[in-house]
């Protein structure tokens, strides 16, 4: 008997499927509400090599759904913490830890080392980046995403040359204002638990040829009603228009801008501007419990919800720069303050505190 006996005795699965899992190399993008259950079940099932990529740190508000982490992990890198946790549980699988965010610069090298990619990210720029790279590198992608009480799961790019990719369904990225994420609309922890577990199940079925998969289909699930809806996906002539022509072209594409993040500036420009405008203000619009905090620069902390109410405070600021965790809420903050101060210079800082050029890394 070994630790996989309960699945190898399963009719139709057997030791042949187990061997396939052992030889598989799977990359999990993001260790959030989706990534945690994905990792727990892939590791338990015996996927031989698992890559974990995430540059984010654990914060208190993650703990309702990111079940690998606990109170002792606050402020720690998520990929490193998850890798340590899984290595301590199982000695028979290989865990590769990549404690960085996926970017246009590192994605080719990272994705090339895996047979299957699983997207557990939480923002459109990353989702479009991962999709496009999977198309250009010929990698199958298990997609999963949530919104309030609903979730989506699909296997994209899993059918060779005739595959469907994410841009067949949604050719152009929505703007950040269009579709909010969990930080803004809230989520019960069990929903990404269910959707991430479905992604893990689809990955295991796809890798072993066990059962019917969601290749070229998208499943919608509603937590409140338990209703599900599966649609067959179709090719879209507009799909290829948005995908860079080669992986080299992808490396010079700005996914923040194509996702409607165009009002934003980067951290370098932000500090440049703050140096020029003596009356400039830098504002963190995250909740008080979100980490990491900006250090070494003067700034105010005003959660997005209170910005409208407190706007009078910045009546005399010539320049207002806003940042949050990933650059989504700060874009909304720009819209809120622009209503009160149409003539002022107001910008969001692209990618937020987690941006690759963020002062927390420099």
């Amino acid at each position: 008997m070994d630790r996989f006996t309960r699945q190898t005795i399963l009719p139709g699965f057997g030791t042949a499927a187990q061997q396939k899992l052992k030889l598989s190399r799977v990359l999990v993008v993001g260790v959030g509400g989706l990534g945690c259950p994905i990792l727990l079940y892939l590791a338990a099932a015996g996927v031989g090599t698992i890559g974990i990529v995430d540059g984010d740190m654990v914060s208190l508000s993650n703990l309702n759904r990111q079940v690998i982490f606990g109170e002792g992990d606050l402020g720690m890198n998520k990929a490193e913490t998850a890798a340590h946790f899984l290595k301590a549980k199982y000695s028979d699988i290989k865990i590769n830890c990549i404690p960085e965010f996926l970017t246009t610069q590192n994605i080719k090298v990272i994705l090339s080392q895996y047979d299957l990619i699983i997207d557990g990210s939480d923002n459109f720029p990353t989702r479009y980046l991962v999709n496009d790279a999977c198309v250009l590198l010929g990698k199958p992608l298990v997609f999963g995403a949530v919104y309030q009480n609903e979730g989506q799961v699909a296997i994209l790019n899993g059918n060779g040359q005739n595959s469907i990719n994410y841009r067949d369904i949604f050719p152009d990225p929505p703007t950040a204002y269009e579709i909010p994420n969990c930080n803004e609309t809230g989520v019960l922890g069990v929903l990404p638990g269910i959707i991430g577990t479905l992604q893990a199940a689809e990955a295991i079925k796809f890798l072993t040829g066990y059962g019917e998969t969601l290749v070229d289909k998208m499943l919608f699930y509603n937590l409140l009603s338990h209703q599900s809806y599966t649609m067959e996906l179709s090719q879209n002539p507009d799909s290829r228009k948005g995908i860079p022509s080669s992986i080299e072209a992808l490396e010079v594409t700005d996914y923040a801008i194509i996702c409607g993040d165009g009002d934003s500036i980067d951290w370098e420009e932000a500090f440049d501007l703050l140096g020029k405008f003596a009356g400039g203000t830098l504002i963190d619009v995250r909740e008080a419990d979100e980490y990491p905090k900006l250090k070494g620069y003067p700034y105010q902390s005003v959660p997005l919800d209170l910005l409208d109410e407190k706007h009078q405070e910045w009546l005399n600021s010539e320049l207002i720069l806003l940042f949050c965790q990933s650059g989504v809420r700060s874009l909304k903050a720009v819209k809120i303050l622009e209503k009160h101060f149409p003539g002022k210079k107001i910008h969001s800082i692209s990618g937020g505190i987690e941006a690759p050029d963020s002062p927390i890394y420099n």
Partner: protein
């Protein structure tokens, strides 16, 4: 939530997900016959102008369709937006 009209031999059944359901204020609608997806979208945009600002995909009887597509009588039309959370 408004009460759903009963289906008639010529009506179509529209179901909505995510923020599309929020914008049309219901998860389901029964509409009198619409010949194709362009006419349906025109009607929805007129009734719910907020929808114009949201991207979504359309499925007809559980198969995704692209561009102007004929809607058979009694069809189920789903309006499916992208989600980004994780």
């Amino acid at each position: 939530m408004p009460k759903l009209e009963p289906m008639t031999p010529t009506s179509i059944h529209v179901i909505a997900f995510g923020m599309i359901a929020e914008k049309i204020k219901t998860k389901e609608l029964v509409l009198e016959y619409m010949p194709d997806t362009e006419v349906l979208l025109g009607y929805l945009y007129q009734q719910f102008p907020d929808l114009k600002q949201t991207k979504f995909s359309i499925a007809l009887n559980k198969k995704m369709v692209v561009g102007k597509t004929f809607i058979p009588v009694g069809a189920e039309v789903a309006l499916l937006p992208p989600f980004s959370g994780g």
